[in-house]
Symmetry: C2
Subunit: 336 residues, 2 copies
């Protein structure tokens, strides 16, 4: 059995979405158990709204009296909200009552709390945020997406190890190709960290394919793209912004006049298929990797379908023993 | 009159495209003069292919015996190819025979040669690469897009000054809003350079609106986005990659079967309007800003329409005296 603690008060939509996602996940995965963490009364009421939600001991509710606000300072929430749904959910992982935690809460607070409570794995200086990004041939794992504003070459190397483990364990990629994000102008060979990280990776047993550029993320000739959290976060947010811009331009062009609206009618099934293909909800669930335990961040505005994707990411990482595999690969690369 | 030196042997398509673009530009702008630089025989033959190409002294050809290869090392080309079309075109700007140079050649070599021959403006440590990026409300200027892998807070400040001048002089924006690209997680307030650059900008007379994130580039609530060249280049290339991925997904969905192909038939005019709107050719022409002279880089695979856009960028920057205005704004911000 896999047991997941869900911070059910988190995100823009709070308990209704978290509970609906939990119920759907329990239906989909008979080996799954979920502990909903938050205000007991609210959560019981939400559970009662679902028919066929009698999962026996597979669904539990654990009380937490506080909620971390979406724009609250991480340091403050860590110090002052010791009974928040986020903190209690992470405590359950630390105490062994759950193997993973899923939260749609404040990213900074979740990272700070997870680091403080769970600590990093031996050999890992700092956790990173990793998520699959859609590509021509499936998807590319990219990290760090924003946990660290600056990274040493050694930390970039650790990100590579963690990304490779995730690609292999959860995404079924044999000998994942690892690339280091760099810029291509001939005059510049990248900054000093990148140079040194490249050397560390070249000397390792990872399947390191060298430098890649921003557009390679979407081409799919690389399985794991490594960068510092500043660069990764900018690349991710830039992509989100461009995606929204293109969607808006398409909508505007198809609703310009009667003629284009009738074209939209004919094109609708195709546009819907296209939208399903780029639907960010299926990629929801970013992993805070490198911790002694599994912590998954769901997007703040995730709906129930997206939130259930995040729960599924947690389930797979627990089943595939991602933290344990990272420790073992690190020992192998550094030890001998 | 504005006189532009065109490195006519550059880019993936070489002389035919450069000459076609030059001829079209001369037709479009009666006050424009162009010096085509490259192998005289090749260029005269290309000019002769165009009817109505009798521009008198407005179109000149200047011989250069060498060509800088697209993957040649910048240092090598600078040292060994002193009679390359790129070098001779930049020399014309240095000698005052032209006011701007346009090249579709190797970015690194063009930057290295331009810096070596023209030098930076007083008060500018390093040139930057700047280009407009389409946004919901028009476009956003972003710099540096890859000239510098690392930047000090002072250099980021200089980028802001140069971007603001370009927005005002060429893009007609009054008091352009300047934002500093940062990441948003609450735990992290960005790296040290960003923090310090933010202070410099806050104390300046620029219309500094604070930190912006990757998605803000495409929203259009900021006119100038400042970042170091590593981050900017990754953001640009990532966007190019995503744009191509989305185009491919759309193509695939519309050509899936007979039904979707007939939908494509009805949707074609709309899809064409959409494509025109996101056509990167209209944004071709990145400025190497901060030099004593105007140097515009056209995309390597630019066709004649795109190359003509780059020539037009050069023309406007010369007419609006961009380098002079940068010097004056810098003196104003630092002097008193």
């Amino acid at each position: 059995m896999t047991r997941i603690a869900v911070d059910a008060m988190s995100g823009d939509h709070g308990a209704p979405v978290a509970v609906e996602a939990a119920v759907a996940s329990l239906h989909a995965h008979p080996e799954l158990e979920i502990v909903l963490v938050g205000d007991t009364e609210t959560l019981n009421r939400q559970v009662a709204r679902h028919r066929k939600a009698d999962f026996g001991s597979r669904l539990a509710v654990r009380h937490a009296s506080e909620i971390v606000g979406m724009s609250e300072s991480p340091a403050r929430s860590l110090r002052q909200k010791k009974d928040s749904s986020m903190r209690v959910a992470i405590n359950l992982v630390h105490g062994g009552e759950a193997q993973a935690c899923v939260s749609a809460g404040n990213t900074g607070a979740l990272m700070a709390t997870a680091r403080f409570v769970l600590k990093t794995l031996a050999g890992i200086d700092r956790p990173a945020i990793v998520s699959p990004i859609p590509s021509r041939r499936g998807h590319t794992l990219m990290l760090d997406l924003g946990a660290n504003a600056e990274s040493t070459p050694e930390q970039l190397f650790q990100f590579a190890v963690m990304g490779a483990v995730l690609a292999e364990a959860v995404h079924g990629v044999d000998e994942p190709r690892v690339g280091l994000l760099n810029i291509g102008a001939e005059e510049i060979k990248g900054n000093t960290q990148i140079q040194q990280a490249g050397k560390l990776l070249g000397d390792s047993e990872l399947n390191y394919i060298g430098f890649v550029e921003g557009d390679d993320i979407y081409i799919g000739d690389v399985d794991v793209v490594v960068c510092d959290g500043f660069v990764g976060n900018v690349a991710l947010k830039t992509s989100e912004g461009l995606g929204k811009l293109i969607a808006q331009f398409l909508r505007e062009e198809f609703s310009r006049n009667a003629l284009t609206r009738s074209a939209a009618f004919f094109a609708m099934p195709v546009l819907k298929a296209f939208r399903r293909r780029v639907d960010p909800r299926q990629y929801n669930g970013a992993t805070f990797i490198g911790l002694q335990g599994t912590v998954i961040k769901s997007h703040g505005d995730a709906d129930a379908i997206a939130f259930a994707s995040a729960i599924n990411v947690a389930r797979m990482e627990v089943e595939q023993q991602v933290p344990e595999r990272i420790s073992s690969l690190l020992a192998h690369n550094l030890g001998e």
